[in-house]
């Protein structure tokens, strides 16, 4: 193996994807070539640290919330319907009128907002942190906490105070008034999961 070929296999080698025969040849070249050894060391360190930090840079979570879905649908609906129904001039007039109405609504609603529902961006369902695992395990009888934690979804504001379901299975509602679980990031669609409410 020469330096050019060695270089061409470095990322596979760094990711452990080289076939054994080629890996042996690759190692043999590195042993005799300091330049390639130095280059490979950098690539390998880069690959290692990148993999280590990906859970921080782009955590594998459920990000879609009902509010976000509504926002996308509303934006799309706004783009298609408004422009189809109105001419540009009518649209500008309507937009100005809407702005006035919205401002008035804001002022009127401002005082009442103190006691209103949580902000739209609040996810309605989230994944519970570890300290709530015993509660969930007690209620569900699951003995594999890691798995249960990884797939646990808790719904705030459910008719029962909260509900849990393993991913892909029917949710389990539990009457546990007073249990308020701080939770994060799971998508819930009432149209598809009527059991949740």
């Amino acid at each position: 193996m020469d330096c050019a070929e060695c270089k061409s296999w470095m990322i596979e080698a760094a990711e452990g994807d080289l076939a054994e025969e080629r890996a042996a040849s690759f190692r043999s070249h590195l042993a005799s070539c300091e330049s390639c050894r130095t280059a490979f060391d950098l690539v390998e360190r880069g690959a290692g640290i990148l993999r280590e930090t990906i859970p921080l840079l782009a955590p594998r979570e459920t990000y879609l919330t009902r509010a976000r879905m509504d926002q996308i649908l509303a934006a799309r609906s706004g783009e298609t319907k408004i422009f189809r129904l109105f001419s540009y001039r009518q649209f500008v007039s309507a937009a100005a009128a809407a702005a006035i109405l919205i401002s008035a609504a804001f002022i009127a609603g401002g005082l009442a907002s103190m006691r209103s529902a949580p902000p739209d961006e609040t996810p309605i369902a989230r994944v519970a942190p570890a300290e709530y695992l015993p509660i969930v395990l007690a209620a569900t009888g699951r003995e594999d906490p890691g798995h249960a934690l990884g797939h646990m979804a808790v719904v705030k504001g459910a008719r029962t105070s909260w509900a849990w379901r393993p991913q892909g299975e029917r949710p389990v509602s539990m009457d546990s008034p007073g249990v308020v679980v701080p939770v994060q990031h799971a998508f819930y669609d009432p149209a598809e999961s009527p059991y949740w409410w």
Partner: protein
């Protein structure tokens, strides 16, 4: 596209696209906007989708265009790493990790390493970032990446090689320890 179709498309692909967008731009709220714009553009141009690639690849192509537009708008000065929750609240790094992972000291080291990696990513060109995203976030093969971004496999590998080497060099410069295998 009907609302139901859009809803299904969003449900199937939102999380993957968001993760990719977040990795590329390093900012949660920007990533949200980019992904929303992606779906809106997809809803408009569904007729242009010829089915030659997977829906995700098609969506990713749109996302990449949105990302390029965003980069141009902000004159390529990438936003700093946002370590908060996706809903915008602040959070410690350990909030992102399963409870079985290491304690505070190692998390602090990883957090520092993540800051360094973020800085290097932000210095990379959009083409390099895109390839790294597809490889390390999406786990696509080199062939799949080449197809997704329409360039030769050699170019894909060369870009990944460059990015990894750059990260490795910065790791060395800053004296951070490489992870143990």
């Amino acid at each position: 596209m009907t609302e139901q179709s859009l809803r299904r498309l969003v449900r199937l692909h939102y999380d993957r696209l968001f993760r990719a967008a977040r990795f590329m731009c390093g900012n949660v709220s920007v990533a949200e906007d980019l992904v929303q714009d992606t779906f809106l553009a997809a809803a408009k141009s569904l007729k242009t989708f010829e089915g030659r690639s997977s829906p995700y690849t098609w969506l990713y192509g749109i996302l990449l265009n949105k990302f390029r537009q965003w980069l141009r708008r902000k004159d390529s000065a990438a936003a700093p790493l946002h370590m908060g929750h996706p809903d915008g609240e602040g959070a410690a790094p350990e909030d992102f990790l399963p409870s079985s992972l290491p304690g505070p000291e190692e998390l602090a080291e990883r957090s520092e390493a993540a800051r360094m990696v973020r800085a290097v990513l932000d210095e990379l060109s959009e083409d390099h970032r895109s390839v790294v995203t597809l490889r390390f976030i999406e786990g696509l093969s080199y062939e799949e990446i080449a197809e997704a971004i329409d360039c030769p496999i050699g170019t894909v590998k060369s870009r990944i090689h460059y990015a990894l080497r750059k990260i490795g060099e910065r790791l060395t410069e800053e004296g951070l320890s490489a992870p143990e295998d």
